[in-house]
């Protein structure tokens, strides 16, 4: 199966760079889902919100010529779509799993419906990479870490902001309380419903932005089923990262490299069915979840305690 390995400096760096790019895609979506789940709302609509963000973001970027407008439009579309889940699961207390899955359906459908006329419109990446002056010259590190699209830097910054807001502000404390014991958060004067609505919409905005990044930067075009289950990997990453923005970032990088491997393996002279290799991120997700569970045996779960439980004041 393995003929001749040709590890050149350029090909290894290329793989790592692509890994960071795919990692950005996963991280944006997973970070948003972390916020939603921290407030006690599981949103399985990530895949759908990502898809809608991908098509809306691409269309806006093409029509305005501005990739930034595309990312913003993708985020807005994701946030708007997540509102449906917020109303059903938070407002009306519907089952979060059912509502989230229906949202994935709705998002995939809307993405195809809206993007129908744009399938033949292929462009190269609309974003230009930003080379951080002074740092991009460092051998290896410079190329892998400091020459990326602004979205990658934005994702890193977002991770820091989310960590700070969750752990160092009153809003963050209220949000985490809503996800652990909603009644206590309510008694302390926080509006649980408002916090959860906001958290779900932040999650939607991140998922939508992630989708827009996929079409405006990574692929440069829109086609049906472009997200290909990556939104689901993002959901798994939240568990992998134990609901902590920093660890979620590590997971996103790990899975980013796995996703990047497929298109790069031929460069290394490795002959392996690309389709079988395409399975690895999904199998890896299962393996990683199993390993985490074995290691976490007999330890308290890091999952927010109130996740999946609708809150109604009268039932306090």
């Amino acid at each position: 199966m393995i003929l001749a390995l040709t590890f050149t400096e350029a090909s290894v760096i290329g793989l790592l760079v692509a890994g960071v790019q795919f990692g950005t895609l996963l991280y944006l979506a997973a970070l948003g889902e972390t916020v939603a789940e921290k407030s006690g709302v599981l949103n399985l609509g990530v895949e759908g919100m990502m898809a809608t963000g991908a098509s809306v973001g691409f269309i806006v970027a093409v029509e305005t010529g501005s990739p930034w407008a595309g990312i913003l439009a993708g985020a807005a579309a994701g946030a708007l779509l997540s509102l449906v889940h917020a109303v059903a699961a938070v407002g009306l207390g519907a089952d979060q799993v059912v509502s989230g899955l229906a949202l994935t359906f709705l998002g995939l459908g809307l993405a195809d419906f809206v993007g129908d006329g744009y399938t033949d419109d292929a462009r190269r990446s609309l974003f230009r990479d930003v080379e951080l002056p002074g740092l991009d010259g460092i051998p290896w590190i410079g190329e892998i870490v400091f020459r990326h699209s602004p979205v990658t830097y934005g994702a890193v910054l977002s991770g820091i902001v989310v960590w700070f807001v969750l752990n160092r502000t009153a809003v963050g404390l209220g949000l985490r309380a809503a996800g652990e014991t909603a009644a206590t958060a309510d008694a302390a004067g926080h509006s649980v419903l408002r916090l959860r609505f906001a958290a779900v919409m932040v999650g939607g905005a991140f998922a939508g932005a992630s989708g827009a990044y996929l079409t405006t930067y990574l692929v440069g075009s829109w086609s049906q089923n472009l997200t290909a289950g990556r939104g689901w990997i993002a959901v798994a990453l939240v568990i992998f990262g134990a609901w902590r923005p920093g660890r979620v970032a590590l997971g996103a990088l790990l899975f980013g490299f796995t996703l990047a491997l497929k298109s790069r393996l031929a460069v290394f002279g490795i002959e392996f069915s690309p389709i079988l290799l395409d399975m690895t991120p999904y199998l890896l997700t299962v393996v990683v979840l199993v390993v985490i569970s074995i290691r976490a045996r007999n330890k308290p779960s890091p999952a927010p305690a109130a996740i999946g439980i609708p809150y109604r004041r009268e039932e306090r």
Binding site: L44, V98, F113, D116, I239, Y282, L289, E314
Partner: protein, 357 residues
């Protein structure tokens, strides 16, 4: 000043769900129409065409009935898992692997007579579906790994496995270079009841009936209902949760796999990744709308079959994106969720003073 609040009813209104379902349908058609009008598609024409091509004329009933079969079986698979509070989100993957297992039997014994071969293929499909759920079942039962993620990830794996078989090991040598799996033996085709409505319709109803009997009348079903409703009671009665969790997921996978076998022998000629065109996912919505009740699943599945079959017809004839059908399916559920609030809650007007105090 009065303020409107929702208070929970002691007992949910009887017959609320059919009303909620009809409301969901109306809601979906309305929102869908607005969406189409805004984007310049003729909504009325689209709905008319969807109706004509699904339930509106007897010519197309067969297609709609046949489509309802995998939807109903997938819905049943989801509701079986739900008896233990589990979510089999990966019925899609189990359908696909069930069809793959059935194809393997067809390749091994291409000369067996039709009825024997069909039976063997369906049994293989059932085993294949259960096998595809085995990993998630063990992981959930032994380690508590979320079955939602694992079953779904295995769906992505199943899709790629079939693509791999198409391009390599099972590629049709007489397929003019196209990446297609060799067609199944021609005698392995389910007979028709009438027109092109195949026996799968009866088989699906039989499986659903059998499970309804099983859950309500058998000891295992009784234990299952106890274990599903209260962990404590189950532990007190000495019921093993681990075995129930594993058993339920295997059974759920088996039913989904059966759907894959029916598709291969009923409507498809050969295995491909589109043999389950999202049926596993639609099945989740079907099961949710049926409130996980086996008796309601066939009705909802038929309605969804009509929406799907109708949705496929509008692209070729009207140039409207078939995504409309996907959107409608999701909107039906959201509409029903909204309406169901009123069977579980009632609106009460409270004095503002009272509520502030």
């Amino acid at each position: 000043m009065k303020r409107l609040v929702l208070t929970r009813r002691e007992i949910p209104t009887r017959g609320g769900q059919p009303v909620a379902f009809l409301f969901g349908l109306a809601f979906a058609l309305l929102v869908g129409a607005i969406l189409m009008q805004v984007s310049g598609d003729p909504a009325i024409d689209v709905y008319q065409r969807m109706w004509e091509r699904s339930l509106g004329s007897t010519d197309t009933w067969s297609v709609t009935f046949n489509r309802a079969v995998p939807l109903a079986l997938a819905g049943l698979a989801v509701s079986i898992a739900a008896t233990m509070g589990l979510w089999n989100i990966g019925a899609e993957g189990q359908i696909l692997f069930g069809a793959t297992a059935a194809t393997l039997v067809g390749r091994l014994f291409p000369d067996w007579p039709g009825p024997v071969l069909i039976t063997a293929m369906l049994i293989a499909a059932v085993i294949g579906g259960a096998l595809w759920a085995l990993g998630p079942g063990l992981a959930k039962a032994e380690l508590g790994v979320s079955e939602i993620i694992t079953t779904l990830m295995l769906t992505e794996v199943a899709i790629r496995l079939i693509t791999y078989l198409e391009q390599g090991p099972w590629k049709d040598p007489e397929g003019f270079g196209f990446p297609n799996v060799t067609a199944r033996p021609p005698q392995a085709e389910l007979g028709d009841l009438w027109d092109r409505t195949h026996i799968g319709v009866l088989l699906a109803l039989a499986v659903i009936g059998a499970f309804a009997w099983f859950i309500n009348r058998s000891v295992w079903g009784y234990e299952l209902r106890i274990a599903g409703s209260s962990r404590q009671t189950a532990a007190y009665a000495g019921i093993s949760m681990r075995r129930k969790v594993l058993g339920v997921l295997l059974l759920s996978g088996a039913v989904a796999g059966f759907a894959g076998g029916i598709e291969l022998t009923g409507t498809a000629v050969r295995l491909n990744a589109q043999i389950s065109n999202g049926y596993g996912f639609s099945g989740i919505i079907v099961a949710a709308l049926a409130l996980m009740r086996p008796s309601a699943i066939p009705v909802v599945a038929l309605a969804f079959g009509a929406v799907q079959v109708g949705g496929q017809s509008i692209q070729t004839s009207l140039g409207v994106s078939p995504a409309v059908s996907t959107i409608l399916q999701a909107l039906i559920l959201f509409g029903a969720i909204g309406a169901a609030v009123f069977s579980n809650y009632r609106v009460v007007a409270l004095d503002r003073q009272v509520s502030v105090a």
